[in-house]
Amino acid sequence: MSGCGLLPAGRYMTMQTQDAPLPRMAAALLALLGLLDAAYLALERITGGLIACPVGGGCETVQSSAYALLFGIPVAFIGVAGYALLLVVAILSLQSSNLGGISLDALLLALASIALLAGIYFMYVQVALIGAICFWCAIAALLDLLIWLAALMNWRSNRQGAMKPPLADHM
């Protein structure tokens, strides 16, 4: 039987030392829901189909407005890419605390913050500029807020853990 070998430095650095995965699990789950939401709008955009609008009836008004494009790219497509990235980072953060020297907790919080700002901006556009609310966009904005809260909780708890003195548990 072999003894306990010292782990290679790189592997040790990327080992998951966090013990509170729930916020990251929540972020991953919410990002997946956001991805499906954005994928639905993107699919209808590609096929030119009518969007089912369970509440409000403003979905087509919003999606057919000029604000549904950002730099010529449909916002739904940007949403798919954004949520896919959030999902990948949230899943990676369940496996490892950093990637190539970048803290995945900080990266998750940074991405979630961008998503939250985008969500707030698009809600403002709907209410103040278009005068109609798209149900699926409102859901996306709510998901953005929840993902951000999960990412913030995760970042704070792991930051507090990292700030503990190394021998604190043995005192």
Partner: protein, 213 residues
């Protein structure tokens, strides 16, 4: 953790299946697209483009609707250039002033008053361009008359037509026709009785043009 990934995978698969089903259902049933009917003779409505253009697009719109404003100020010029000026499309404007917009009927009356002097489309373009200025005005007539003057129309005639509500009954008839005909939002574009939204308009026109060739 394994259970969590399993749950994530199940949600992903269920979501993709739902999206595929929704899309298949829609592509299978073109009948799902709303059918719009009208009892108003189209040649009585303001129109731009050749009278014998192969495709007629009827736009149901409200001057105070922000989405109509976005279409008019950002997309309509492209449609005019590519389809109307080239003789492929005739665009007919069907008023549908929505009840939640306090100045929509007044704006429609103003546009008709401008139409009396042969300036429906320039006035239509100006109303949409200045929508933010008049939409919440308690006394929009002063602004509407100023727009008429800006277009070098006879202000007196414009105000007389507006104040006597010459066109109000026609506009209300058009509202009723839109509502009875199955239109439920603006802007709605109708080609051969089928409703399309602004983002679908180009594709719908291209498809209709191909079908007529």
């Amino acid at each position: 953790m394994g259970i969590f990934y399993l749950v994530l995978a199940i949600i992903a698969i269920a979501g993709v299946a739902l999206l595929a089903t929704a899309n298949l259902r829609q592509s299978a049933g073109t009948s799902a697209r709303p059918t719009i009917t009208t009892t108003i003779p189209l040649d009585t409505l303001p129109a731009r483009g050749k009278a014998d253009a192969p495709i007629t697009v009827v736009e149901y719109a409200d001057f105070q609707c922000p989405a109509c404003g976005v279409f008019a100020t950002t997309m309509e010029a492209g449609i005019v250039k590519d389809y109307i000026d080239t003789g492929k499309v005739r665009l007919v404007f069907h008023d549908f002033p929505l009840p939640q917009h306090a100045n929509a009927i007044a704006a429609a009356e103003a546009a008709r008053s401008a139409a009396d002097q042969g300036a429906f489309w320039p006035y239509h373009d100006l109303l949409y361009a200045k929508q933010a200025e008049w939409e919440n005005s308690a006394q929009p007539l002063a602004l509407f008359a100023a727009y008429a003057e800006q277009l070098k129309l006879d202000r007196g005639k414009f105000e007389a037509a507006f104040n006597s509500h010459t066109h109000q009954s026609t506009i209300m008839q058009l509202y009723q026709d839109s509502s009875n005909g199955g239109v439920n939002q603006t802007p709605t574009f109708v080609i051969d009785g089928k409703a399309y939204y602004a983002n679908e308009l180009r594709t719908a026109i291209d498809t209709a043009l191909k079908a007529k060739q």
